[in-house]
């Protein structure tokens, strides 16, 4: 969208200077992004290489974050794990947007029968706890590929987003400019695309960011209970491995734990901040 103008960018940069939390969050998310895009350049070792006789080594100069019980470098695994977490979260957000956008927009704009139909479906999905659905779905799929995890998370989480989009659409639908657009003879789908969507895009972006943080947590949860793919490193998988050695080798869990916490925190802060930046223009 053409939503981010010069003013928004100036506002963003100005606030970045003033708020240390914002500055930290932006830097942190940038680091994670670089890690997930170029892990092969940053990671000191191959994350799956086992170093004989180096099992459960504490942090040292050769292994900055220590090693796990089979002697793999934790730092390299954390760096490669960023890629897993980030891409799975991004993929799941895209999947949920693909479903939630049309459902929310159509239900909110047309109301009546379509609204009833879509909203009852979402209600039915909302009454089962997400994490339970997630575990059932991952078990049923049996494959542990990232694609299936992305699909499952996207397919399970869309009702929340759809409800918000519907609510926002309901609000915008009653605005005078939508009535004005109708009085100019525009068709409904044209109005939805060109007048409704641009005006609800900022809450959608904000919620999608928050959802990304959730998906990182969900992915970690799935891996933590041992349902993830054992061949690719992920933060949740590291927690799963380190669980048995909490007393003897706490670094296996502590470092990925810190990464999960800081990433989720930073993304949430950025989402919050993004909502301020994006609503700026409408006023």
């Amino acid at each position: 969208m053409q939503n981010i103008s010069k003013k928004n960018l100036q506002f963003f940069l100005k606030n970045l200077k003033n708020s240390k939390v914002m500055l930290f969050s932006s830097i942190w998310v940038t680091i994670i992004l670089i890690m997930s895009l170029l892990p092969f350049l940053i990671a000191p070792y191959n994350p799956n290489t086992t170093f004989a006789g180096k099992s459960n080594n504490p942090p040292s100069i050769t292994f900055l974050f220590g090693t796990d019980y089979v002697g793999r470098d934790i730092l390299s695994q954390v760096i490669w794990g960023a890629r897993t977490s980030f891409f799975i979260a991004l993929g799941a957000v895209i999947i949920e947007l693909i479903i939630a956008l049309p459902v929310g927009l159509l239900a909110g704009y047309f109301g009546s029968f379509i609204d009833q139909l879509f909203m009852r479906i979402t209600d039915a999905m909302l009454c089962i706890p997400t994490i339970v659905l997630l575990i059932i779905a991952v078990t049923l799929f049996r494959t542990q590929s990232e694609i299936s995890i992305i699909l499952v998370m996207g397919l399970i989480n869309w009702p929340w987003l759809a409800k918000t989009i519907r609510g926002e659409t309901l609000r915008v639908r009653e605005e005078d400019f939508v009535i004005a657009a109708k009085s100019l003879g525009f068709s409904d789908f044209y109005i939805i695309r060109n007048h409704v969507l641009p005006n609800i895009i900022s809450p959608i972006i904000v919620i999608s960011t928050f959802d990304m943080a959730w998906f990182i947590l969900y992915e970690a949860t799935i891996s933590f209970i041992g349902l993830g793919n054992p061949t690719i490193p992920s933060w949740g998988r590291l927690l799963y491995i380190g669980r048995g050695f909490l007393a003897t080798a706490p670094w296996v869990t502590i470092f990925p734990g810190i990464f999960i916490m800081l990433t989720v925190f930073s993304i949430n802060m950025l989402g919050d901040f993004l909502s301020d930046v994006l609503t700026l223009k409408i006023r």
Partner: protein, 334 residues
């Protein structure tokens, strides 16, 4: 029903819009029915401006909206015809109506702040109308047309302003943009629904002056809806006074000021402030407020507040009759 208006669509020779016996009802949530527009007939001639005055709740906006068939879902057209260029709009379906809206009939809304999409550049918003209705123009031609119309409605530096967002304009400027949007593909009829109510007095005058001038240039007919008799008088050829869904009086704007026949028109006129303090005007103060539209008074609808009401007014509904050439009144006292 009076036979003042010919009932056939053949009346379209000089009349761009002919409304015949139009009734619109609102079906409220509790099952109550409000007749917002009750058996109304009038014509708008080509190039003419008809002013529609009335207080809030008189049904004037409902009437305006019904012409482009964009009524709220609770409202229904019960009976009547709306002939536009000789064709009955009531019989048209949504798809056919879309081709008329914006292209042949445009609406100027009351509040230009909320009627413009806040997330879209104003030039694009106007260009959109051309793109939707006349796809034959190229991008450059469309932009030229938009800049041209922006200049005509008095936006300086139109080429630069093209890519500004609505919040970067003053409210008077926004109303000019709304007018540009309504005029961009040269519609035959403009429905101006309280176009100046949201503006301050000095801007009001500018906008009215602009509309007068544009009407000469674009030669559109106009239905001007307003609660302000002064505004209506300023640019209308004829004025219709509405009260509780009925037309009380219809005459040329000169005639209605000089010689108001209906007590309601007299009261309405006496309430408009006079610029010259030397002119002494008797202020007629009506008692009470609008009666409930769910149970409108029997007989003349104005009888609860009329200061001249007689016994007959409480029993019989007055018909709209032609008193003088072109001067129509619905009152027993005339």
């Amino acid at each position: 029903m009076s036979d003042l208006f010919s009932k056939s669509s053949k009346a379209y020779n000089e009349n761009i819009l002919s409304i015949r016996n139009l009734s619109i009802e609102y079906h409220l949530f509790g099952g109550e029915i409000v007749r917002a527009v009750d058996d109304i007939s009038f014509d708008i001639k080509e190039g003419e401006t008809l002013g529609l005055v009335g207080e809030s709740g008189s049904g004037k906006s409902t009437l305006g909206r019904s012409i482009i068939k964009l009524l709220p879902p609770s409202a229904k057209i019960v009976s009547g015809h709306i002939f536009f260029e000789g064709e009955d709009l009531i019989k048209k379906n949504e798809k056919e109506m879309r081709k008329i809206r914006g292209a042949k009939i445009s609406v100027i809304f009351q509040d230009p702040t909320s009627s413009l999409n806040p997330a879209m550049r104003i030039g694009e918003q106007i260009a959109e109308v051309i793109k939707f209705h006349q796809s034959r123009y190229s991008k450059i031609e469309v932009k030229e047309k938009v800049i041209n119309i922006l200049e005509k409605v008095g936006i300086y530096d139109a080429e630069k302003r093209y890519s500004n967002y609505p919040y970067e304009f003053s409210i008077g400027m926004r109303q000019r943009i709304m007018i540009a949007m309504a005029l961009i593909i040269n519609p035959k009829l403009i429905i101006a629904d309280e176009p100046t109510s949201a503006l301050d007095v000095s801007t009001q005058a500018q906008i009215l002056e602009l509309m007068k001038q544009l009407q000469k240039e674009f030669n559109f007919s106009c239905l001007l809806i307003s609660h302000d008799l002064a505004v209506v008088r300023y640019i209308s050829n004829r004025v219709a006074v509405m009260y509780m869904g009925k037309i009380m009086e219809l005459a040329s704007s000169k005639e209605i000021i000089k010689n108001p026949l209906h007590p309601y028109t007299e009261a309405l006129y006496s309430a408009t402030p006079e610029v010259k303090p030397t002119i002494e005007k008797k202020r007629i103060i009506l008692k009470g407020t609008l009666p409930s539209p769910i149970n409108p008074p029997k007989g003349c609808r104005f009888n609860t507040r009329c200061y001249k009401a007689k016994e007959k007014c409480f029993k019989e509904k007055p018909e709209l009759i032609e008193v003088k050439n072109g001067h129509l009144v619905a009152c027993h006292l005339v």
